[in-house]
């Protein structure tokens, strides 16, 4: 089967085009070894099936970020039959930068000149024939959001697959660099390096670490001679000059093929931005939008849909219970199905609506272009705390679930910003922790629920910000951090994109519920049943014994019981398991009034608060630790994250309890 790769800048409408091309034939996975999302789809044309690979959106094909490397390696190593380069017609100069790189690589390129309608509305005139001539690659105008030009694009791409073409953008880098490129090219020819020698030569001169390492691995001698050439050529800013020359090449194209109005018209985006990014109104507007997002998430996701699903699960559980009893199933089978599966996975499924609503709303904000503004308005404040505007977005996503929260730190360019954002993300109280708070709230503070929840969230944010400040002054002192971000024009989000994006996230969550959480629940259940003959979920079970061993640690915090310890222990596996486990060890039920009653007799209001502080802040769940390992690529930082958050949680929990006692609460 032939493959077509989609490449383009962020915000160029690439995802929309991907959806328009492939419809519902899509699969989402990960690129091997990295956490960059891999989207694959297919379409049929004249009875032939074609695979479409959606490469990550990048500005360039350097080795700047994981996204770029993934995109580049795919094109170079997997040799897609055609590359569709999506170019935003309203932002053609910047977008063509990537195009020139693709052409230089020797890829077969079709340019999809997307959002041509918006360009027209902005009175940007593009001479498509001339553009294509100058680039040396076909250009097809498209409006992906309205599925315009898609047929043309497909037939052009397919036509190219069977054609032997040799596009090479002939960019001159100026006499000196050109001569050096030729020189290096000679060294690289016949070295069986798998890449076009010219492209390699340019990359070598750009100081591309990834490419240099590859050459070094394959042929150390060549590498050494290259190094000495570069050292002795007397250039200072070669890399930047190369970028400059690419732009010069682009300008020579656009000056011939693109006409823009002299004075920029004041667009609707400009008008909206005047309010949204306003010096004084920007932050309150952002706060208001976030408030609405969370209100809607909880009102629709939790109270309405979550309630319905919860009731449904309860009825289903009872039905299955009586069914199992009626067929005389063994006690342990009933216990496993009802306590293990329904208790564990069931509580997770109840969160699906919450996550569903949250991601839909986040997707709306993202696709409309507001998220970039949110990062902008938060930057000033965040900078004082040792973070930057974009970090805040990952924190917000963390409120849903820390796993995507940690993953979203990828948009941060500098190592320092990224590491800090990863390390503080688990302090953002994720959806899975809510049911724990809710149990304690209904046991002790039934009429102050909103306030308690608000204070817990606030404490999480506060601790995150303090730690960010400390990290930026200590562990990552002096490392560079910078903020560059495109503010795309506001667009009306398409339902298709938003829903698809939401579904990708929700199905990811469901997959996790079905695998990791299911496994965790099963293991916890086994630990609670063994050794054979003990009362399940009793202190004598292995689970109970683990709890007994670690319980003394929590004594100064006011809940040094084996039951509480078991609850916290299971929370390291998955926070979703805490309530179910507490229910089983305290009352022999998963949730509901009996658990609340049991909690009331086992805790005091003060130790309940202290316990909630602990659950808010302590060691992230296994899935989050897993993704921290993936993103930092370091066991050291993963362990650090697990340990330091436990230490902070313990200290604050103990402090809460002891100070509370001193001032006479309890």
């Amino acid at each position: 089967m032939n493959t077509i790769a989609l490449v383009g800048n962020p915000n160029c409408g690439k995802t929309t085009l991907f959806n328009a091309l492939t419809g519902s034939n899509q699969r989402v996975g990960n690129w091997p070894g990295v956490t960059v999302e891999k989207k694959e789809g297919s379409f049929k044309f004249k009875n032939q099936e074609y695979t479409v690979i959606d490469l990550p959106g990048t500005y360039s094909l350097g080795s700047f970020s994981e996204d770029e490397i993934v995109a580049r390696n795919y094109i170079v190593n997997e040799n897609p039959d055609v590359v569709i380069n999506v170019v935003d017609a309203t932002n053609i100069e910047r977008n063509l930068y990537l195009t020139t790189q693709l052409l230089e690589m020797g890829a077969k390129v079709v340019v999809a000149l997307n959002m041509i309608d918006e360009a027209e509305a902005k009175h940007i005139e593009i001479d498509i024939k001339k553009l294509s001539e100058k680039l040396g690659a076909p250009v097809i105008p498209t409006v992906a959001s309205r599925k315009k030009g898609i047929e043309n694009l497909i037939s052009k791409a397919v036509e190219l697959i069977n054609k032997d073409v040799d596009y090479k953008a002939h960019i001159s880098y100026g006499q000196n660099i050109d001569r050096e490129i030729e020189n290096i090219k000679k060294f690289l020819e016949n070295k069986r390096l798998n890449y076009s020698p010219k492209w390699l030569a340019v990359k070598v001169l750009e100081g591309d670490k990834d490419i240099l390492n590859m050459i070094k691995e394959k042929d150390e001698q060549t590498y050494n001679s290259l190094e000495s050439i570069i050292k002795n050529d007397g250039f200072e800013n070669r890399e930047l000059e190369i970028v400059d020359k690419r732009y010069e090449f682009i300008h020579s194209i656009t000056s011939a093929a693109v006409k823009k109005p002299k004075e920029n018209v004041v667009t609707l985006t400009d008008k909206i931005d005047r309010i949204i990014t306003h010096k004084y109104f920007g932050l309150p507007i952002f706060a208001l939008i976030m408030y609405i997002v969370f209100q809607l998430t909880f009102a629709i996701g939790q109270d309405l849909l979550g309630g319905i699903i919860g009731t449904g699960l309860e009825i289903l559980g009872e039905k299955i219970d009586s069914l199992l009893v009626s067929i005389n199933a063994a006690d342990w089978v009933i216990s496993f199905v009802i306590d293990g599966i329904f208790g564990g996975v069931g509580t997770v499924v109840e969160f699906v609506p919450l996550i569903l609503v949250l991601y839909t709303l986040m997707g709306l904000l993202e696709d409309s272009g507001y998220m970039a503004r949110a990062a902008y308005v938060m930057d000033n404040l965040m900078r004082r705390l040792g973070l930057q505007g974009k970090s805040f977005i990952s924190m917000i996503i963390g409120f849903g679930c820390n796993v995507p929260g940690v993953m979203s730190t990828r948009t941060l360019d500098s190592n320092k910003d990224r590491m800090i954002a990863i390390l503080i993300n688990p302090f953002m109280s994720c959806g899975a922790r809510i049911p724990i708070y809710l149990v304690f709230i209904s046991a002790f503070f039934p009429d102050k629920g909103g306030l308690v929840l608000f204070l817990l969230y606030a404490l999480g944010i506060f601790v995150a910000l303090v730690m960010a400040k400390i990290f930026s002054k200590t562990l990552f002192k002096g490392e560079a951090s910078y903020f560059i971000m495109e503010l795309p024009p506001y667009r009306i989000p398409t339902a298709e994109n938003v829903l698809r994006n939401m579904w990708d996230n929700v199905s990811e969550f469901l997959k996790r519920a079905g695998t990791i959480i299911f496994a965790v629940v099963t293991i916890l259940w086994i630990l609670a049943m063994l050794p054979i003959g003990v009362e399940p979920y009793s202190q004598e079970s292995i689970l109970g014994q683990i709890g007994t061993v670690i319980a003394p640690i929590f004594k100064p915090a006011g809940y040094g019981t084996w039951q509480a310890a078991v609850g916290l222990f299971s929370g390291i596996a998955a926070k979703e398991a805490v309530v179910a486990i507490l229910g089983m060890v305290y009352a022999g039920v998963e949730e509901g009034a009996e658990l609340v009653k049991a909690i009331q007799s086992a805790f005091t209001p003060l130790s309940a608060v202290s316990f909630m502080v602990m659950t808010l802040l302590y060691t992230p769940c296994a899935a989050t630790l897993g993704v921290i390992k993936k993103e930092t690529n370091s066991y050291k930082w993963t362990l650090f994250s697990a340990v330091y958050s436990f230490a902070i949680a313990w200290i604050l929990s103990v402090l809460t309890y002891q100070v509370g006692r001193l001032i006479g609460l309890s």
């Binding site: 930068y97 732009y247 931005d273 930057d379 910078y482 903020f483 560059i484 795309p488 024009p489």
Partner: protein, 74 residues
Amino acid sequence: MNTKVLAQLHSGENCKIQKISAGFMATKRLYEMGLNSGAQVKVIKNDIGPIIVSLYGNKIAVGRGLAEKILVEN
């Protein structure tokens, strides 16, 4: 002609980027976003927080620290 840094310009002013003296990674990213030497930009907003510039009619926000390191002439 006079040389300033981007962060000193007021909203509405036009300028041409001369030189960027930030770290390599940041400079390269600016270049790749189109903010290379010779680029004509217009300052859209400069009050608090990052500076918003318009480049070929598209908006880019640049952090204040970085904008201090972008030499421009206007």
